[in-house]
Protein backbone atom coordinates (compact mmCIF):
# COMPACT_ATOMS: atom_id res chain seq x y z
CA UNK A 1 0.00 0.00 0.00
CA UNK A 2 1.15 3.51 -0.74
CA UNK A 3 2.41 5.88 1.87
CA UNK A 4 -0.26 8.41 2.77
CA UNK A 5 2.14 11.02 4.07
CA UNK A 6 4.54 10.63 1.17
CA UNK A 7 1.71 10.45 -1.37
CA UNK A 8 3.21 7.54 -3.28
CA UNK A 9 1.13 5.38 -5.54
CA UNK A 10 2.10 1.74 -5.86
CA UNK A 11 2.47 1.02 -9.58
CA UNK A 12 2.21 -2.73 -8.98
CA UNK A 13 -1.48 -2.24 -8.27
CA UNK A 14 -2.14 -1.31 -11.87
CA UNK A 15 -2.42 -3.81 -14.70
CA UNK A 16 0.40 -3.91 -17.26
CA UNK A 17 0.13 -0.93 -19.55
CA UNK A 18 -1.29 -1.40 -23.04
CA UNK A 19 -0.11 1.70 -24.82
CA UNK A 20 -0.31 0.38 -28.35
CA UNK A 21 -2.39 -2.10 -30.26
CA UNK A 22 -0.58 -4.66 -32.44
CA UNK A 23 -2.55 -6.02 -35.39
CA UNK A 24 -3.00 -9.48 -33.86
CA UNK A 25 -4.38 -8.00 -30.63
CA UNK A 26 -7.39 -6.32 -32.19
CA UNK A 27 -9.60 -9.38 -31.68
CA UNK A 28 -8.64 -9.57 -28.04
CA UNK A 29 -10.24 -6.23 -27.25
CA UNK A 30 -13.42 -6.88 -29.21
CA UNK A 31 -16.38 -5.50 -27.25
CA UNK A 32 -19.85 -7.01 -27.13
CA UNK A 33 -22.13 -5.08 -29.49
CA UNK A 34 -25.11 -4.97 -27.18
CA UNK A 35 -25.88 -1.30 -27.43
CA UNK A 36 -29.45 -0.52 -28.34
CA UNK A 37 -30.25 1.88 -31.12
CA UNK A 38 -31.53 4.27 -28.47
CA UNK A 39 -30.29 4.23 -24.89
CA UNK A 40 -33.38 4.64 -22.72
CA UNK A 41 -33.90 4.54 -18.97
CA UNK A 42 -35.71 1.25 -19.48
CA UNK A 43 -32.61 -0.19 -21.12
CA UNK A 44 -30.28 1.47 -18.61
CA UNK A 45 -31.87 0.44 -15.32
CA UNK A 46 -35.43 -0.78 -15.92
CA UNK A 47 -36.14 -3.63 -13.47
CA UNK A 48 -32.82 -3.11 -11.64
CA UNK A 49 -32.80 -3.18 -7.85
CA UNK A 50 -29.09 -2.59 -7.59
CA UNK A 51 -28.54 -6.25 -6.74
CA UNK A 52 -24.89 -7.15 -7.25
CA UNK A 53 -23.59 -3.56 -7.22
CA UNK A 54 -21.33 -2.57 -4.32
CA UNK A 55 -21.63 1.00 -3.06
CA UNK A 56 -19.23 2.59 -0.58
CA UNK A 57 -20.26 5.55 1.57
CA UNK A 58 -17.10 7.56 2.36
CA UNK A 59 -18.40 9.80 5.13
CA UNK A 60 -19.10 10.11 8.87
CA UNK A 61 -19.95 6.41 9.28
CA UNK A 62 -23.31 4.71 8.78
CA UNK A 63 -25.72 3.50 11.43
CA UNK A 64 -26.05 -0.17 10.53
CA UNK A 65 -29.46 -1.68 11.07
CA UNK A 66 -31.33 1.63 10.74
CA UNK A 67 -34.70 0.59 9.27
CA UNK A 68 -34.05 2.79 6.22
CA UNK A 69 -30.50 1.54 5.72
CA UNK A 70 -30.46 -2.16 6.60
CA UNK A 71 -27.33 -4.21 7.02
CA UNK A 72 -23.90 -3.21 5.76
CA UNK A 73 -21.43 -5.31 3.79
CA UNK A 74 -18.77 -3.90 6.06
CA UNK A 75 -18.04 -0.86 8.19
CA UNK A 76 -14.52 0.43 8.76
CA UNK A 77 -12.92 3.53 10.23
CA UNK A 78 -9.77 4.99 8.70
CA UNK A 79 -7.22 6.90 10.77
CA UNK A 80 -3.63 7.97 10.20
CA UNK A 81 -1.01 7.07 12.80
CA UNK A 82 1.86 9.26 13.96
CA UNK A 83 4.13 7.93 11.23
CA UNK A 84 1.58 8.99 8.64
CA UNK A 85 0.52 5.41 7.87
CA UNK A 86 -3.13 4.67 7.23
CA UNK A 87 -4.82 2.44 9.80
CA UNK A 88 -8.03 0.69 8.80
CA UNK A 89 -10.08 -0.93 11.58
CA UNK A 90 -13.57 -2.27 12.14
CA UNK A 91 -15.87 0.63 12.97
CA UNK A 92 -17.87 0.03 16.12
CA UNK A 93 -18.94 3.64 16.64
CA UNK A 94 -21.45 3.90 13.80
CA UNK A 95 -22.18 7.41 12.59
CA UNK A 96 -20.52 10.38 14.35
CA UNK A 97 -22.69 13.08 12.77
CA UNK A 98 -25.68 11.43 11.09
CA UNK A 99 -24.68 12.54 7.60
CA UNK A 100 -23.33 9.19 6.37
CA UNK A 101 -26.53 7.46 7.47
CA UNK A 102 -28.53 9.98 5.45
CA UNK A 103 -26.46 9.27 2.32
CA UNK A 104 -26.74 5.51 2.82
CA UNK A 105 -30.51 5.84 3.24
CA UNK A 106 -30.86 7.76 -0.03
CA UNK A 107 -28.93 5.04 -1.91
CA UNK A 108 -30.90 2.27 -0.19
CA UNK A 109 -34.26 3.86 -1.08
CA UNK A 110 -33.45 3.92 -4.81
CA UNK A 111 -31.34 0.76 -5.06
CA UNK A 112 -32.89 -1.47 -2.37
CA UNK A 113 -30.81 -4.55 -3.12
CA UNK A 114 -27.36 -3.03 -3.63
CA UNK A 115 -24.60 -3.84 -1.19
CA UNK A 116 -23.69 -0.93 1.10
CA UNK A 117 -20.39 -0.42 2.90
CA UNK A 118 -19.22 2.40 5.15
CA UNK A 119 -15.71 3.88 5.23
CA UNK A 120 -15.62 6.45 8.01
CA UNK A 121 -13.13 9.29 7.45
CA UNK A 122 -14.55 11.77 9.96
CA UNK A 123 -14.77 12.02 13.69
CA UNK A 124 -11.26 11.58 15.03
CA UNK A 125 -9.85 15.09 15.05
CA UNK A 126 -10.21 17.97 12.67
CA UNK A 127 -6.54 18.60 12.06
CA UNK A 128 -5.91 15.20 10.49
CA UNK A 129 -9.05 15.12 8.42
CA UNK A 130 -7.34 15.80 5.06
CA UNK A 131 -4.86 12.94 5.35
CA UNK A 132 -7.59 10.62 6.61
CA UNK A 133 -9.79 11.55 3.66
CA UNK A 134 -7.00 10.54 1.25
CA UNK A 135 -6.31 7.31 3.11
CA UNK A 136 -10.01 6.45 3.14
CA UNK A 137 -10.41 7.07 -0.55
CA UNK A 138 -7.30 5.03 -1.29
CA UNK A 139 -8.71 2.17 0.75
CA UNK A 140 -12.09 2.37 -1.03
CA UNK A 141 -10.42 2.32 -4.46
CA UNK A 142 -8.31 -0.68 -3.47
CA UNK A 143 -11.42 -2.55 -2.33
CA UNK A 144 -12.84 -2.25 -5.84
CA UNK A 145 -16.28 -0.88 -4.96
CA UNK A 146 -18.42 -0.25 -8.04
CA UNK A 147 -19.53 3.13 -6.74
CA UNK A 148 -17.84 5.36 -4.17
CA UNK A 149 -20.10 8.10 -2.79
CA UNK A 150 -18.09 11.13 -1.69
CA UNK A 151 -20.37 13.84 -0.34
CA UNK A 152 -17.38 15.88 0.76
CA UNK A 153 -14.42 17.80 -0.57
CA UNK A 154 -11.21 19.45 0.54
CA UNK A 155 -9.91 22.94 -0.20
CA UNK A 156 -6.30 22.03 0.58
CA UNK A 157 -4.22 22.36 -2.56
CA UNK A 158 -1.43 20.03 -1.39
CA UNK A 159 -3.99 17.21 -1.36
CA UNK A 160 -5.30 17.98 -4.83
CA UNK A 161 -2.54 16.19 -6.74
CA UNK A 162 -2.93 12.97 -4.72
CA UNK A 163 -6.71 13.13 -4.97
CA UNK A 164 -6.38 13.56 -8.72
CA UNK A 165 -4.17 10.50 -8.91
CA UNK A 166 -6.63 8.49 -6.83
CA UNK A 167 -9.60 9.66 -8.89
CA UNK A 168 -7.86 8.61 -12.11
CA UNK A 169 -6.87 5.33 -10.56
CA UNK A 170 -10.51 4.67 -9.58
CA UNK A 171 -11.61 5.58 -13.11
CA UNK A 172 -9.24 3.07 -14.72
CA UNK A 173 -10.12 0.35 -12.21
CA UNK A 174 -13.84 0.72 -12.90
CA UNK A 175 -14.74 2.26 -9.57
CA UNK A 176 -17.05 5.18 -10.17
CA UNK A 177 -16.31 8.12 -7.90
CA UNK A 178 -19.45 10.24 -7.38
CA UNK A 179 -18.47 13.52 -5.71
CA UNK A 180 -20.38 16.54 -4.37
CA UNK A 181 -19.80 19.83 -6.09
CA UNK A 182 -19.27 22.75 -3.75
CA UNK A 183 -22.26 25.00 -3.05
CA UNK A 184 -19.98 27.98 -2.59
CA UNK A 185 -17.64 29.64 -5.08
CA UNK A 186 -14.43 28.06 -3.79
CA UNK A 187 -11.81 25.76 -5.27
CA UNK A 188 -12.22 22.33 -3.79
CA UNK A 189 -11.54 18.73 -4.77
CA UNK A 190 -12.12 16.02 -6.01
CA UNK A 191 -15.38 17.04 -7.65
CA UNK A 192 -13.62 19.31 -10.16
CA UNK A 193 -11.75 16.40 -11.75
CA UNK A 194 -13.15 15.07 -15.02
CA UNK A 195 -12.59 11.45 -13.99
CA UNK A 196 -15.32 11.70 -11.34
CA UNK A 197 -19.06 12.23 -11.64
CA UNK A 198 -19.66 15.60 -10.01
CA UNK A 199 -23.08 16.44 -8.62
CA UNK A 200 -24.92 19.64 -7.71
CA UNK A 201 -28.54 20.10 -6.54
CA UNK A 202 -31.81 20.70 -8.34
CA UNK A 203 -35.06 21.59 -6.58
CA UNK A 204 -37.38 18.99 -8.16
CA UNK A 205 -39.01 16.54 -5.75
CA UNK A 206 -38.49 13.52 -8.07
CA UNK A 207 -35.58 11.38 -6.77
CA UNK A 208 -35.04 9.96 -10.26
CA UNK A 209 -34.84 13.37 -11.95
CA UNK A 210 -31.24 14.12 -12.90
CA UNK A 211 -29.92 16.70 -15.30
CA UNK A 212 -26.78 16.89 -17.40
CA UNK A 213 -25.02 20.25 -17.18
CA UNK A 214 -23.52 21.27 -20.54
CA UNK A 215 -21.31 23.84 -18.80
CA UNK A 216 -19.11 21.92 -16.36
CA UNK A 217 -17.23 21.56 -13.99
CA UNK A 218 -20.46 20.37 -12.32
CA UNK A 219 -21.63 17.64 -14.70
CA UNK A 220 -24.91 16.46 -13.18
CA UNK A 221 -27.67 17.78 -10.93
CA UNK A 222 -29.53 15.43 -8.61
CA UNK A 223 -32.27 15.90 -6.05
CA UNK A 224 -30.75 17.91 -3.21
CA UNK A 225 -33.44 20.11 -1.66
CA UNK A 226 -35.92 19.14 1.08
CA UNK A 227 -35.02 15.46 0.99
CA UNK A 228 -36.41 13.11 3.66
CA UNK A 229 -33.53 11.06 5.01
CA UNK A 230 -32.77 8.64 7.84
CA UNK A 231 -30.44 10.04 10.51
CA UNK A 232 -28.49 8.41 13.29
CA UNK A 233 -30.50 7.32 16.30
CA UNK A 234 -33.11 5.67 14.08
CA UNK A 235 -34.59 9.05 13.16
CA UNK A 236 -35.67 10.84 9.99
CA UNK A 237 -34.99 14.48 8.97
CA UNK A 238 -35.56 16.82 6.04
CA UNK A 239 -32.27 18.02 4.63
CA UNK A 240 -30.83 20.10 1.77
CA UNK A 241 -27.40 20.40 0.17
CA UNK A 242 -25.29 19.01 -2.65
CA UNK A 243 -24.09 16.32 -0.31
CA UNK A 244 -27.59 14.79 -0.55
CA UNK A 245 -27.83 15.19 -4.32
CA UNK A 246 -24.70 13.06 -4.66
CA UNK A 247 -26.12 9.78 -3.23
CA UNK A 248 -29.07 10.11 -5.62
CA UNK A 249 -26.63 9.87 -8.54
CA UNK A 250 -24.65 7.15 -6.73
CA UNK A 251 -27.84 5.09 -6.46
CA UNK A 252 -28.66 5.57 -10.14
CA UNK A 253 -25.10 4.49 -11.02
CA UNK A 254 -25.61 1.39 -8.86
CA UNK A 255 -28.88 0.58 -10.65
CA UNK A 256 -27.20 0.90 -14.06
CA UNK A 257 -24.08 -1.06 -13.09
CA UNK A 258 -26.15 -3.83 -11.51
CA UNK A 259 -27.87 -4.32 -14.85
CA UNK A 260 -24.79 -3.63 -17.00
CA UNK A 261 -21.75 -4.60 -14.95
CA UNK A 262 -19.51 -4.46 -18.02
CA UNK A 263 -19.75 -0.67 -18.29
CA UNK A 264 -16.62 1.36 -17.66
CA UNK A 265 -16.92 4.74 -15.89
CA UNK A 266 -16.54 6.40 -19.31
CA UNK A 267 -19.48 4.41 -20.70
CA UNK A 268 -21.52 4.88 -17.54
CA UNK A 269 -21.16 8.65 -17.75
CA UNK A 270 -22.42 8.45 -21.33
CA UNK A 271 -25.44 6.43 -20.23
CA UNK A 272 -26.15 9.00 -17.52
CA UNK A 273 -25.95 11.74 -20.14
CA UNK A 274 -28.24 9.92 -22.61
CA UNK A 275 -30.84 9.20 -19.91
CA UNK A 276 -30.67 12.56 -18.13
CA UNK A 277 -34.03 14.28 -17.63
CA UNK A 278 -33.03 17.15 -19.92
CA UNK A 279 -31.63 14.81 -22.61
CA UNK A 280 -33.50 11.57 -23.18
CA UNK A 281 -34.89 10.91 -19.72
CA UNK A 282 -38.51 11.04 -20.78
CA UNK A 283 -38.13 8.03 -23.07
Amino acid sequence: MGDVAGHRWDASQAALPAWSLPKDAVDRIALPAEWPEQVTREWAFGGSTGRGARVCILDSGVEAGHPSVGELERSVVVTVDEAGEAVVAEDTEGDVSGHGTACAGIVRALAPECSLASVRVLGANFAGSGAVLLAGLRYAVEQGFDVINMSLSTTKKPFAAVLHELADSAYFRRSVLVASAHNMPVESYPWRFSSVISVGSHEEPDPLAYFYNPTPPVEFFGRGVNVQVPWSGGRRLTVSGNSFATPHLSAICALILAKHPELTPFQLKNVLYLTATNVGGGR
Binding site: S60, V96, S97, G98, H99, L122, G123, A124, N125, F126, A127, S129, S151, L152, S153, T154, T155, K156, K157, S180, H182, N183, M184, P185, V186, S188, S201, E203, V225, N226, W231, S232, G233, R235, R236, L237, T238, V239, S240, G241, N242, S243
Partner: protein, 216 residues
Protein backbone atom coordinates in the same frame (compact mmCIF):
# COMPACT_ATOMS: atom_id res chain seq x y z
CA UNK B 1 13.18 34.65 13.82
CA UNK B 2 9.62 35.84 13.57
CA UNK B 3 6.93 34.52 11.31
CA UNK B 4 6.53 36.48 8.09
CA UNK B 5 3.87 39.14 8.52
CA UNK B 6 4.03 39.25 12.32
CA UNK B 7 5.91 42.53 12.31
CA UNK B 8 3.35 44.13 10.04
CA UNK B 9 0.57 42.64 12.13
CA UNK B 10 2.14 44.18 15.22
CA UNK B 11 2.32 47.58 13.54
CA UNK B 12 -1.30 47.23 12.47
CA UNK B 13 -2.28 46.40 16.02
CA UNK B 14 -0.43 49.43 17.30
CA UNK B 15 -2.43 51.61 14.94
CA UNK B 16 -5.81 49.89 14.85
CA UNK B 17 -5.93 48.94 18.47
CA UNK B 18 -7.80 45.85 19.58
CA UNK B 19 -9.89 43.09 18.07
CA UNK B 20 -13.08 44.82 19.20
CA UNK B 21 -14.11 46.30 15.84
CA UNK B 22 -13.76 42.91 14.19
CA UNK B 23 -15.85 41.25 16.88
CA UNK B 24 -18.46 43.95 16.27
CA UNK B 25 -18.35 43.11 12.55
CA UNK B 26 -18.98 39.43 13.28
CA UNK B 27 -21.93 40.38 15.49
CA UNK B 28 -23.30 42.58 12.73
CA UNK B 29 -23.03 39.72 10.22
CA UNK B 30 -24.96 37.25 12.38
CA UNK B 31 -27.53 39.94 13.17
CA UNK B 32 -28.15 40.59 9.46
CA UNK B 33 -28.20 36.86 8.67
CA UNK B 34 -30.78 36.23 11.37
CA UNK B 35 -32.93 39.11 10.23
CA UNK B 36 -32.76 38.26 6.53
CA UNK B 37 -33.68 34.60 7.03
CA UNK B 38 -36.30 35.51 9.63
CA UNK B 39 -34.52 33.08 11.96
CA UNK B 40 -34.59 32.91 15.75
CA UNK B 41 -30.83 32.81 16.16
CA UNK B 42 -27.55 32.92 14.29
CA UNK B 43 -24.00 32.27 15.36
CA UNK B 44 -20.40 32.07 14.22
CA UNK B 45 -18.17 29.31 15.55
CA UNK B 46 -14.41 29.51 15.25
CA UNK B 47 -11.99 26.63 15.10
CA UNK B 48 -9.42 26.64 17.90
CA UNK B 49 -6.67 24.64 16.21
CA UNK B 50 -4.69 24.15 19.40
CA UNK B 51 -7.49 22.38 21.25
CA UNK B 52 -9.33 21.04 18.18
CA UNK B 53 -12.53 22.69 19.41
CA UNK B 54 -15.21 24.92 17.94
CA UNK B 55 -15.90 28.07 19.98
CA UNK B 56 -19.02 30.27 19.80
CA UNK B 57 -17.51 33.60 18.79
CA UNK B 58 -20.63 35.61 17.90
CA UNK B 59 -24.20 34.78 18.86
CA UNK B 60 -27.42 36.67 18.32
CA UNK B 61 -30.92 35.61 19.35
CA UNK B 62 -31.94 32.71 21.53
CA UNK B 63 -29.09 31.28 23.58
CA UNK B 64 -27.14 34.53 23.23
CA UNK B 65 -26.22 34.87 26.90
CA UNK B 66 -25.13 31.27 27.39
CA UNK B 67 -23.51 30.26 24.13
CA UNK B 68 -20.83 32.92 23.72
CA UNK B 69 -17.45 31.37 24.45
CA UNK B 70 -18.85 27.85 24.76
CA UNK B 71 -16.68 25.10 23.24
CA UNK B 72 -17.18 21.61 21.87
CA UNK B 73 -15.02 19.08 19.99
CA UNK B 74 -14.47 20.05 16.32
CA UNK B 75 -14.82 16.49 15.03
CA UNK B 76 -18.35 16.12 16.32
CA UNK B 77 -21.92 16.87 15.39
CA UNK B 78 -23.32 18.81 12.48
CA UNK B 79 -21.00 21.83 12.75
CA UNK B 80 -18.06 19.44 12.92
CA UNK B 81 -19.20 17.72 9.74
CA UNK B 82 -19.59 21.05 7.94
CA UNK B 83 -16.13 22.14 9.05
CA UNK B 84 -14.36 18.90 8.13
CA UNK B 85 -16.06 18.49 4.76
CA UNK B 86 -16.13 22.22 4.00
CA UNK B 87 -19.66 21.73 2.74
CA UNK B 88 -22.82 23.67 3.64
CA UNK B 89 -25.80 21.77 5.01
CA UNK B 90 -29.42 22.45 5.86
CA UNK B 91 -31.36 20.35 8.31
CA UNK B 92 -34.96 20.67 9.43
CA UNK B 93 -36.06 19.35 12.78
CA UNK B 94 -32.72 19.13 14.50
CA UNK B 95 -34.61 18.23 17.65
CA UNK B 96 -34.56 14.62 16.52
CA UNK B 97 -30.78 14.50 16.26
CA UNK B 98 -29.63 13.39 19.69
CA UNK B 99 -26.05 14.46 19.12
CA UNK B 100 -26.99 18.02 18.36
CA UNK B 101 -29.24 18.20 21.37
CA UNK B 102 -26.60 16.77 23.67
CA UNK B 103 -23.93 19.16 22.44
CA UNK B 104 -25.71 22.43 22.83
CA UNK B 105 -29.19 22.24 24.16
CA UNK B 106 -28.55 20.74 27.58
CA UNK B 107 -26.48 23.71 28.61
CA UNK B 108 -28.71 26.38 27.15
CA UNK B 109 -32.20 25.03 27.30
CA UNK B 110 -32.56 26.11 23.69
CA UNK B 111 -33.19 23.36 21.14
CA UNK B 112 -33.50 24.56 17.54
CA UNK B 113 -35.82 22.74 15.16
CA UNK B 114 -33.90 23.69 12.04
CA UNK B 115 -30.34 24.59 11.18
CA UNK B 116 -28.42 25.97 8.22
CA UNK B 117 -24.65 25.72 8.46
CA UNK B 118 -21.88 26.80 6.09
CA UNK B 119 -18.11 26.59 6.44
CA UNK B 120 -16.05 29.77 6.77
CA UNK B 121 -13.42 29.28 4.10
CA UNK B 122 -10.40 31.49 3.60
CA UNK B 123 -8.09 30.25 0.88
CA UNK B 124 -7.27 26.67 1.72
CA UNK B 125 -8.25 27.01 5.37
CA UNK B 126 -11.54 26.30 7.07
CA UNK B 127 -11.76 28.88 9.88
CA UNK B 128 -15.10 27.97 11.39
CA UNK B 129 -18.82 27.62 10.76
CA UNK B 130 -21.73 30.05 10.28
CA UNK B 131 -25.04 28.80 11.63
CA UNK B 132 -28.58 30.10 11.19
CA UNK B 133 -31.09 28.47 13.52
CA UNK B 134 -34.85 28.09 13.29
CA UNK B 135 -36.05 29.67 10.11
CA UNK B 136 -39.84 30.08 9.99
CA UNK B 137 -41.30 26.56 9.95
CA UNK B 138 -43.77 27.28 7.18
CA UNK B 139 -41.13 28.18 4.59
CA UNK B 140 -39.61 25.37 2.56
CA UNK B 141 -35.94 25.69 1.92
CA UNK B 142 -34.76 26.68 -1.58
CA UNK B 143 -31.49 26.87 -3.49
CA UNK B 144 -31.73 30.66 -3.39
CA UNK B 145 -31.35 30.54 0.37
CA UNK B 146 -28.39 28.20 0.08
CA UNK B 147 -26.70 30.74 -2.17
CA UNK B 148 -27.48 33.53 0.28
CA UNK B 149 -26.06 31.47 3.12
CA UNK B 150 -22.87 30.97 1.10
CA UNK B 151 -22.56 34.72 0.52
CA UNK B 152 -22.91 35.41 4.22
CA UNK B 153 -20.37 32.73 5.02
CA UNK B 154 -17.89 34.35 2.63
CA UNK B 155 -18.38 37.72 4.26
CA UNK B 156 -18.05 36.19 7.71
CA UNK B 157 -14.87 34.39 6.66
CA UNK B 158 -13.26 37.70 5.69
CA UNK B 159 -14.24 39.24 9.05
CA UNK B 160 -12.96 36.18 10.91
CA UNK B 161 -9.66 36.38 9.05
CA UNK B 162 -9.29 40.01 10.18
CA UNK B 163 -10.18 39.07 13.74
CA UNK B 164 -7.59 36.29 13.75
CA UNK B 165 -4.96 38.69 12.39
CA UNK B 166 -5.77 41.20 15.13
CA UNK B 167 -5.48 38.45 17.74
CA UNK B 168 -2.17 37.32 16.37
CA UNK B 169 -0.96 40.90 16.46
CA UNK B 170 -2.07 41.25 20.07
CA UNK B 171 -0.18 38.08 20.94
CA UNK B 172 2.90 39.47 19.26
CA UNK B 173 2.53 42.72 21.21
CA UNK B 174 2.07 40.91 24.48
CA UNK B 175 4.82 38.38 24.05
CA UNK B 176 7.74 39.87 22.16
CA UNK B 177 9.38 43.16 23.17
CA UNK B 178 11.48 43.46 20.04
CA UNK B 179 8.33 43.62 17.91
CA UNK B 180 6.04 45.49 20.24
CA UNK B 181 8.45 48.43 20.14
CA UNK B 182 7.52 48.92 16.47
CA UNK B 183 3.84 49.11 17.30
CA UNK B 184 4.49 51.48 20.23
CA UNK B 185 6.55 53.66 17.91
CA UNK B 186 3.74 53.81 15.34
CA UNK B 187 1.20 54.62 18.04
CA UNK B 188 3.51 57.29 19.58
CA UNK B 189 4.15 59.10 16.28
CA UNK B 190 0.45 58.93 15.52
CA UNK B 191 -0.27 60.77 18.78
CA UNK B 192 2.18 63.66 18.15
CA UNK B 193 1.06 67.17 17.18
CA UNK B 194 2.09 69.21 14.11
CA UNK B 195 5.83 70.08 14.26
CA UNK B 196 6.77 67.33 16.65
CA UNK B 197 4.92 64.87 14.44
CA UNK B 198 6.86 66.03 11.36
CA UNK B 199 10.12 65.74 13.28
CA UNK B 200 9.11 62.24 14.40
CA UNK B 201 8.28 61.19 10.87
CA UNK B 202 11.60 62.58 9.59
CA UNK B 203 13.38 60.57 12.25
CA UNK B 204 11.59 57.45 11.06
CA UNK B 205 12.45 58.23 7.41
CA UNK B 206 16.11 58.57 8.34
CA UNK B 207 15.93 55.32 10.26
CA UNK B 208 14.32 53.59 7.30
CA UNK B 209 17.05 54.92 4.98
CA UNK B 210 19.73 53.72 7.36
CA UNK B 211 18.11 50.28 7.30
CA UNK B 212 18.28 50.25 3.51
CA UNK B 213 14.80 51.37 2.43
CA UNK B 214 15.39 53.25 -0.86
CA UNK B 215 12.01 54.93 -0.89
CA UNK B 216 12.97 57.05 2.12
Amino acid sequence: MTERGELQAAVAAGVVGSEEPFRALLSAIVEVARSLFGAKASSILLLDEETDELVFEAVVGEGEEHLLGMRFPAGKGIAGWVLATRTPLVIEDVRTDPRFAADVAEDTGYVPSGLMAAPLLHGERALGVLEVLDRPEASLFSLHEMELLGLFANQAAIAVDLLLKARRAERVLAGKDDLSVVARLAAAVDALEAERREAGLQLLRDLAATLGDRRS
